[in-house]
Every structure is written in structure tokens, then in C-alpha cells.
Symmetry: C2
Subunit: 492 residues, 2 copies
């Protein structure tokens, strides 16, 4: 009797076999097998276990401050002051003024006037005055008005994407069009929601270009198999692909959405990571839609932005927003309701959104330093993107499009038959096998293309170009050396 009791005890109520099957089905390669292995290697290095490299370089994720990018000083000064309002008291004024510039002090006071305490729950949609500042930013950027009541502050763009997709998915036959390659947040979220990803392919041979013919093919094929496509996700600038859409192309996409009655979901988190501003400037979908006249009035569009990317890179803080355009009022209310269940986005993240959309201006005490820091990060990103692209394109079997924007390159590699066979032997996709070998040899962690989706039979990986400038050459040459060794080892 006791023995049987105890045997029963070993059977858990909850196991992978009987858990939520949609959660089980979700995959997120950016923090998958390669990332988990890289964490383990990092721990081993810290314990003194020897490896062929001195440190792990996390190129699997766009996490600039983890790779020593310095935060924008003004932003952090304001964040520091709102944390400890005693610094703003008359008693401390003199000391504080020696450590903080006058505009940071003024901004902190203004924010605290609106917020009260950053330790209090805010309005579930985000602090009203910060949403007003976001609206001003959008209308300044686009030349068309924006409405604070249609802006929702979030814990990063990912949270906004998850929340809005959750609204849209009525049943398991709802389809959401996503680019291939895509950022795996989308497939993971759709898996959890038990909705159908409707893939459309970006054309690698045309710099990851996007045609409405391909959009229509994708939509029509889905319709034929009974899928009701409700929305189209565009990532612009692209992740993992780095392309930046032309205005003409964007108009075609808006027209496609309008004709086919789908909501446009515009992931624009890399809008300031633009590396060819002359040939390929950033245009927001909001602006393009508004410029297309009354025929398109009322087209449903949700645009996402984040404090994690750009020159800010405040990923760990979890802040962002989305703007709803043309959405039904009943849906805006439902978005508020669902946001309220999670109470509010963290207030420090909200403050950073405010700083992002309203940075120091000409004449402000911090303007010169802000501009200097911003430009230095920007130019360094431009040069690192180019250097890594050149490195890749100099390597046997590689071909790599240049990055118009974002933080990644997504090179294609031609692997030998022998390498493909070895991968099969190891029960890995060829690109996963290649990336695991690279991690073992160099400590560099990439994400294999299979995690993003790619044309069948091709092999890619995504790499950030975020390793710090002073270590960048070493980073490039370690990849190059690894690749030569790998090619020699598996030469047909």
C-alpha cells in the first residue's frame, strides 16, 4: 500500500505530455539550443574550465549594452533622478547640480509632476502625458496627426505584438501573414495562440525584396486551404534580413492589405537603424498610408516601436509602444481591458519611451553630449555592419546581402555534401550543425537560419554586428579561421 502510494507520487500532475500543447509547440531559436549552450560555456569559463576561446560572444540577440555599448548619458541621468527624488530637494540642490545637468533635473521634475512616484501603478494604457509626447513625436516624424488615446505603452514591442495578435486570433483557422525569414517571436506567438502562420517569402536574390505577387500567392494559397487571413506582419527594417522598404513598395503593400481586407501590423522597431539614409531612408507605414488619400481612409494598421533598438539599446528595461490607426473603437476598449489585467507597463520603461521620443534639443544643456553619443554609436554601427558583410563575402561559400538597416546580417552558406551528411549523422539541421561547431571553436553564438525560416535546402544564420569596436577585428578573424577549418574538414 505504501509502495503503491509512493509510486503514484512519482507521477506528476503536470508533465510535457499533458501541458498546454500550444505552449509546447512554440519555438524560439534566439534563446534556444545555441543560446542555452553558450550560457553553459560562459559558466564553465567562469569556473576556470578551459575552452579554445577566452569569452563567449553573444551575437544571437540584439543586446547592445551586453556587448559594452554605453547607454545615452542624458537618459540615464533622468532615470537616476526619478528613482531618488530626494536628489531634487532644495537641501540637495547644490550637490545634485554638480552631478546632473540642468535639463536632466528639469525633465525629472516634470516627469515626477505627472507621475507622482515611479513606484505607483500608472494608467494601464501608459502615463497620459507620455502618450501625448509619443503622439507629438509621431506627428512630427510623419507630418500627419497622431492621437494619444490610440497609443498604448508596453513592456517592449514583443509584449505589444503578443497582445495585439491575441486580440485578432478568433479561432484556429485564423491566418497571419509573416515574412520568411521572420523574427521567431511571430511563429512562437502564433503557436501559443494556435493560429496559422501564412508565410510569404522575401527574395534573397533581390536584396530580400518583397513583391505583392508573392503576397497575393501566399494569401490565395492560404484561402484555398480554408484559412481566413486577418493580418499581415511586415518587419521594416527587416529582422533578420536588414532590408529597408521603398516608399513605392510600401504603397503596394498598403494597397494589398486594403484590397484583401487584412490588418497591417508594422514592426518598426529598427526605424532609426538606417545605414543608407540616402538610398533607403525609413518611412513609417502610418505616413505612407496617410499619404495615399481617402480611398485608404480607415485601413487598420498597428505600428510597434521600442526603446530596445536604435542608438538607445535599453533592452533590459522593457519599454515600447504601439499606435492603432483605423481600428474599431470596440477593439481599442478591449485592448485597454486586457492591458489592465496586467495592471501597467513598468514605469521606468515608460519614462525611457518619453526620453526616446523627446530627447535633448538644440540649446539644451545636454544636447551636445547627446548628439555626440548618438552619432558615435550610429557611425560605429554603420562601419561594423560593412566590415562584417565584407568579411562574410570574402569567405568561401558565403553570400551576404548588405544591411540597409536593423542590427543583423543573414548570410547564406553553401555547405559541402560531407558537412550536410555529418549534420544528418548528428541529427541536426545543417545550419544548426555549423553554428554549434562555430560556438565550440570560437565562443561566438549565432542563430541558425532554420530558426527564422528559409527557402528549403538553403542554409543561413543570423549574426548581430554588435561586438564592441575594439574587439571587432578579432571577432571577424575568429569566424574566418573557424570557417576555413570547417570547410577543410568537410571538403567533398
Amino acid at each position: 500500500m505504501l509502495a503503491s502510494d509512493s509510486k503514484q507520487d512519482n507521477k506528476k500532475v503536470l508533465t510535457r505530455d499533458n501541458m498546454n500543447p500550444h505552449v509546447r509547440a512554440a519555438e524560439y531559436a534566439v534563446r534556444g539550443e545555441l543560446a542555452i549552450k553558450s550560457e553553459k560555456l560562459k559558466e564553465e569559463l567562469a569556473q576556470g574550465i578551459s575552452h579554445p576561446f577566452k569569452s563567449v560572444v553573444a551575437c544571437n540577440i540584439g543586446n547592445p549594452q551586453a556587448l559594452n555599448q554605453k547607454p545615452i548619458t542624458f537618459f540615464r541621468q533622468v532615470a537616476s533622478l526619478v528613482e531618488y527624488p530626494d536628489l531634487l530637494s532644495d537641501e540637495n540642490a547644490e550637490l545634485t547640480s554638480k552631478l546632473y545637468p540642468s535639463d536632466a533635473i528639469a525633465r525629472a521634475k516634470l516627469l515626477l509632476k505627472h507621475i507622482g512616484s515611479i513606484g505607483a501603478y500608472s494608467h494601464s494604457q501608459g502615463i497620459p502625458q507620455i502618450r501625448e509626447d509619443v503622439a507629438k513625436f509621431i506627428s512630427g516624424r510623419d507630418g500627419y496627426p497622431a492621437d494619444a488615446s490610440k497609443i498604448y505603452l508596453t513592456q517592449g514591442a514583443s509584449a505589444g505584438v503578443q497582445l495585439t495578435l491575441q486580440m485578432i486570433v478568433e479561432h484556429s483557422n485564423v491566418g497571419i501573414m509573416i515574412p520568411i525569414p521572420q523574427y521567431p517571436l511571430y511563429t512562437a506567438t502564433l503557436a501559443v495562440l494556435n493560429a496559422k502562420p501564412v508565410p510569404y517569402y522575401l527574395d534573397e536574390s533581390k536584396g530580400w525584396g518583397l513583391t505583392t505577387e508573392e503576397l497575393q500567392r501566399s494569401f490565395d494559397e492560404a484561402a484555398k486551404s480554408g484559412i481566413e487571413t486577418r493580418a499581415l506582419v511586415i518587419i521594416n527594417p527587416g529582422n533578420p534580413t536588414g532590408q529597408c522598404l521603398t516608399e513605392e513598395n510600401m504603397r503596394q503593400i498598403v494597397d494589398f492589405c486594403h484590397t484583401n481586407k487584412v490588418i497591417l501590423l508594422a514592426d518598426e522597431v529598427y526605424q532609426t537603424n538606417i545605414y543608407m539614409p540616402e538610398e533607403r531612408p525609413f518611412h513609417s507605414f502610418k505616413k505612407v498610408l496617410k499619404s495615399m488619400g481617402s480611398k485608404y481612409e480607415g485601413q487598420e494598421l498597428i505600428s510597434y516601436h521600442s526603446i530596445s533598438k536604435g542608438m538607445i539599446g535599453e533592452c533590459g528595461r522593457r519599454g515600447g509602444y504601439f499606435e492603432c490607426e483605423g481600428m474599431d473603437t470596440s477593439i481599442l476598449e478591449e485592448i485597454y481591458k486586457i492591458s489592465s489585467i496586467s495592471l501597467c507597463p513598468n514605469v521606468q520603461g515608460q519614462i525611457m519611451v518619453d526620453l526616446m521620443v523627446n530627447p535633448p534639443k538644440k540649446g539644451d544643456a545636454s544636447y551636445a553630449l547627446y548628439q555626440k553619443e548618438y552619432d558615435a554609436i550610429y557611425h560605429s554601427l554603420v562601419s561594423r555592419a560593412k566590415k562584417l558583410e565584407d568579411t562574410f563575402n570574402s569567405m568561401e561559400g558565403y553570400s551576404c546581402n548588405s544591411a540597409d538597416g536593423a542590427m543583423y546580417l543573414f548570410p547564406q552558406i553553401q555547405l559541402s555534401k560531407k558537412a550536410v551528411a555529418a549534420a544528418k549523422e548528428a541529427n541536426k539541421a545543417p545550419d544548426q550543425f555549423y553554428c554549434l561547431a562555430m560556438l565550440d571553436a570560437t565562443g561566438v553564438c549565432m542563430v541558425a537560419g532554420s530558426g527564422f525560416g528559409q527557402v528549403d535546402g538553403t542554409a543561413h544564420f543570423r549574426s548581430t554586428f554588435l561586438p564592441p569596436p575594439e574587439l571587432f577585428d578579432e571577432f571577424c578573424s575568429s569566424i574566418k579561421k573557424f570557417h576555413n577549418d570547417f570547410m577543410n574538414k568537410y571538403r567533398d
Copy 2:
């Protein structure tokens, strides 16, 4: 043709009618009709529109810092320093040491050593060293070991509850036992997940007591209607009810879970809000389970904690953790995976968890101030809880249990037939009608009992006792005056 086009345009792709029906079904009264109306009143007051009150008092939500509770100084000093690490440079050392105590400086340096930058994504499960500190705190509190690898940092306890419930719900016939009255996060989350709430009732006549007979009745009735009950939610100390469980009662609950093969979900966010520490001290379910011996070894338990409550009240920061005990390894891995899709909990929230579990100790520079602030908030909460309870119990038709813990009272009101009829006329539940009338007359925002669940035919509301001490008497007398007028108006 154009007219028809334009007509078509008015039909939105997404409306309340075809959105996710489970999201539509969710209700969250804490920020529902009353809260939305109170926000509107606040705006109107700001615009100079006259009302019978000078300010809106938000008693609908446990949000201490919004009602002027001062944050713990040491915690904010550390948070301020990690935001702006330049303060820690040799160059600024002298000035910084005049504004910040030595232990805050040391702690900030230690945290930054572990974290790098608070603007970087952290480990998806939470910063390893902070999880180690949480494990130390738990083992110190309970006298049983805790394992950092089974602790997950979250964006507040709500996020942890949502994440773990999401893991458990395999299909729409999975049931989760919840107390009635309950905190509406639970019913809202179960609605979104399309799972079955399995209600068990707390006995108001016995100080909101909980019997295993009632648990078994609830479980058996659900089983009869084909529901597979997988987990039991306990909120201890209770929300909205404020009761604190005895150790004996907790043992019975653990035994119930073990016998009936259900996971125990222990919401312990109010564990330091204990107002009768002699008669009703807090015991964690982890400790009670561990003390029950080998028969119960392996019982699945998830315990939640938060930085939003206690004497800390850092709600807006969104931080917390949950600890898994006895869960299958495959589930721990799946929890990590699903956490990684959202990248990481915000790092400032993680730091506040570290400070909560590892506050200044005897001998530290900040110990005296920390203890003074902590005790002042605690004693003030004790006295305000008592004062509000006495006020309620002095009022015609009220009966109110005392709060052993938490931040709320949940009085029952006997409303006259005339009042019930007037409510029906207005198409409102009687308690909602009463609370709306109170808001209109006094600016005090409560949440009606129907938002939490209550025995049919009874009327309650939840009120925090958080209005600031200096305004507390005025707050109590305004409710009292409103209630007299209301009773006179609707006397049978």
C-alpha cells in the same frame, strides 16, 4: 461603385464580434467601470469642473505610492545608482558619498558587477545572482533549502500567475480551483485561457475560513460535470478578504492537494502584511509542505511573491518571482522557453526583488533608517486597517471581518429593498449601484463585490485602507456621511 467601396471600408476587419472570444469574455473589475469613471472624474476636476469632492481617492487598487506612501529610501538609492553608473566613478566618488550612504554604493557596485548594465537583456529566468539571493531568503524564512534553478523572476506576481496557468491549461475542460471571493486576475486569466474556474467558497461567518470539506465538495462537483481539476489557487493572506491561514489549516490543504492530485498555487504576495502576528503569523506553503514529511515529497507547488505589496509597494516597477517545488523537470524547461519568448523581466524590477529579499542588515549604514521607515509604514497600516474596520462596523447594515493581513477590507452591506429596486432600474448589480453612488458623492473609488464573486444575494465591496494617515479620518467620515444619506434616500 465608389459608394459601395466606401461602404465596405466602414466594415472593419476586426470588431468585438469577431475578435478572440476568450479575451472578450475576460473581466477585470479592479480597473473596470468604477475605475474608468474615477479616471474621468479626476480629469474633470483637473479641468476645473466642479464635483461634491476635491479629489478622487483610489481605494480600488492596492497602490500605496499613488496615495503618498513614501518608498523605502535605501531601495531607491540603489536603484538610482545603478541607473547612472558614472556616479560610482572615482571622479565623482566624493560628491556621490555626500548624497548616498556607503552601503547603497556598495550594493549598487555589486549588482552592476553581476549585471553589467541594467539596459541589457538578462537571463530569461532572471539574473542568476539575484535568484541565488531569493533562494537564500526563502531558505532563511522557511528553514528548508531552496534552489535558484527553480526560481523564476517575473514582471510582478500577476505575470507569474498568467505564465504558470498558461502552462497548466491543456484543454477547455481543465479546471482550476479558486476561492470565492477571489482576486479577479484569476477569473480573467482563466477566461483568456478558456479553462474552467472551479469555485470554492470562503466562509464569511467564520472570518473567511476555509474548510477541506468545502474544497472536496467543489472538486467533486467539478469532477461530476467532467472537469479535470489540475490545480488549486490559495491566496494567503487573502485578497480581497484579508484572512491569514493557520498552519493546521494549511496542512489540511496540502493533504487535500496530495490526495486529489492537484498542483497547489500559493499566491503569497501579502506575506509581510500581517496585522496579528501573534495569533495569525504568516507561514509559507513551502515550509508547511516540507514539514509534513516524506509522504508529501514531490507534491507540486508554485509560490508567488511580489515587490508591489508589503511595506515596499513598488507596484509600478513590475517585479516579483515564483518558486517551483516538486515540478517535473520537463515543465521547468518549458517555463524557461516560454519566458525566453518575452526575453526577460525588466531589470530594475529584478533589482528591487534583490533588495526586498536582502535588505540592510544590523550594522549597515542604512539599517536604522530602513527599519524606521519599514516600521512606520507597518504600524500605520495596522492602525488604518483597524480604523476602517471600526468605521464600517459602526455603520447601519454593515458587517466587516477584521483583516489578519493584506491591504483590504471586504465588508458586507445589507441594502434595502428600495435600493435593490433602484439598482435594478439602473441595470446595475446592487453593490455596483452602491459603489457608483459612493464615487459620485465622495470621489472614493471602491470595487463592488460582484467583481470578486460572493454568495448569491449578498452585497460587498473591497476597499484598501491605503489613503494617507493625515487624510484618513476625513476619508472615513466621508464614507459614513454618504452611507447615511444613501440609507435615508432608499429606506424601505
